[in-house]
């Protein structure tokens, strides 16, 4: 798999705005951003309403994902291009989610909404109409999803990559600093986890660094990529971006995203936690 199979730039998207087999999808942490404006012909997926079970903490199931994509007018053989704010955090999360349910051709817009805005490219308010499809999802690919027991079993054995900011890793902050600081969990990190913040994967404009720079980053941080790796953050969206880097850009096979992340781990009774750097 090459970088262009999973990542496209703004010029590519601009050239495919009216391509009927390319579906551009905006996924934002701020789910109202789409209503303000969006890339022409882009549809919206709401990471909370559309992708989460409305009652339990879990994802929509296979049938739910099929219903969602059918309603959005996305077919199994469409090329899906995801983009969003926050340097593609939630677009990366959706990308991982599309892969979890086995979508064939899905890509990220490099730099996401921010780069598009900073380049002063066109944004519109018109919402496109797409004919409904009969989307068929595959069973969840558990090879790319980690659960809490996987994390506990990995302590001291596998690579645990904590992609939160240094202040969240050390326990000084409980959430990214654009959010009020929650108090429901214990601060800190999983013992033996390495802190390699997601932001080290990206440039200021939100585009990904080169494969060479990324390889150097993980080697320099002492991550043995021959071992299995589990990435986590607070709720699994920033670590989905790191999963994208390791699994999709660098081609590492044994990489899982722990979507329970710190909001689950930091609330578990009796598990080991480390504080500090």
């Amino acid at each position: 798999m090459s970088r262009s199979d999973v990542l496209v730039d703004a010029d590519w998207v601009q050239a495919h705005l009216s391509d009927p087999k390319v579906v551009i999808v905006e996924v934002d942490e701020d789910t109202s951003a789409y209503e303000k404006n969006h890339i022409r012909n882009a549809v919206r997926i709401d990471w909370k309403r559309d992708l989460q079970d409305p009652v339990r903490r879990d994802f929509v199931d296979q049938a739910g994902f099929e219903a969602l994509l059918s309603a959005k007018g996305i077919a199994n053989d469409d090329t899906v291009v995801l983009y969003g704010g926050n340097n593609n955090w939630f677009a990366s999360y959706a990308y991982w989610y599309f892969k979890l349910y086995g979508h064939g051709d899905v890509r990220l817009l490099d730099g996401g909404r921010k780069k598009w805005e900073l380049d002063s490219r066109e944004l519109v308010v018109e919402v496109p109409e797409r004919a409904v499809t009969e989307y068929k999802a595959q069973a969840q690919n558990k090879a790319i999803r980690a659960f809490r027991d996987d994390v506990l079993a990995a302590i001291g054995k596998l690579n645990l990559v904590d992609v939160r900011s240094p202040d969240e890793f050390s326990g000084k902050l409980l959430a990214p600093a654009h959010l009020p600081q929650e108090q429901s969990q214990r601060p800190g990190h999983v013992p033996s986890a390495r802190n390699i913040p997601w932001a080290k994967n990206a440039n200021d404009d939100g585009t990904f660094k080169s494969d060479e720079e990324l390889t150097k980053l993980y080697a320099g941080e002492g991550v043995d990529l021959a071992k299995d790796t589990i990435a986590y953050c607070r709720i699994g969206e920033r670590s989905a971006l790191t999963w994208f880097v390791l699994h999709e850009l660098l081609g590492q096979q044994n990489v899982k995203n722990y979507d329970g992340s710190w909001t689950e781990y930091g609330s578990l009774v009796g598990v080991p936690i480390e504080l500090g750097n």
Binding site: K114, E117, L118, S165, P166, A177, H178, P180, A199, D204
Partner: protein, 96 residues
């Protein structure tokens, strides 16, 4: 924008005494600018980023200490250092 409250929308529901707030606005020639503001820690590491509001405003919930704010707008990048304190809403105006 006339009548815009410093820092953006109100802080209803947030216990500001427990928060270390850094907020302000990004302007060009006195007019609000749409762009992004990044919060970098005292090692220069990324901690958070927000888009500015329609009135150019931003807000972070940080921790006490030294920070750098980096405003990214079309065609310009501007850094400002700031010292934040618990229970205080530190205001920073960034002209680009």
């Amino acid at each position: 924008m006339c009548g815009a409250k410093a820092g953006g929308p109100d802080l209803a529901g947030v216990d500001v005494a427990k928060e270390t707030i850094i907020q302000g606005s990004v302007t060009r020639n006195g007019e609000p600018v749409n762009g992004y503001v990044r919060l970098l820690d005292d090692n220069g590491d990324f901690t958070a980023e927000v888009p500015t509001s329609a009135t150019g405003q931003f807000r972070f919930f940080a921790r006490p200490g030294n920070w750098t704010l980096r405003a990214l707008v079309p065609g310009a990048t501007v850094d400002r250092t700031v010292v934040a304190s618990l229970g205080v809403q530190t205001e920073v105006g960034i002209a680009v």
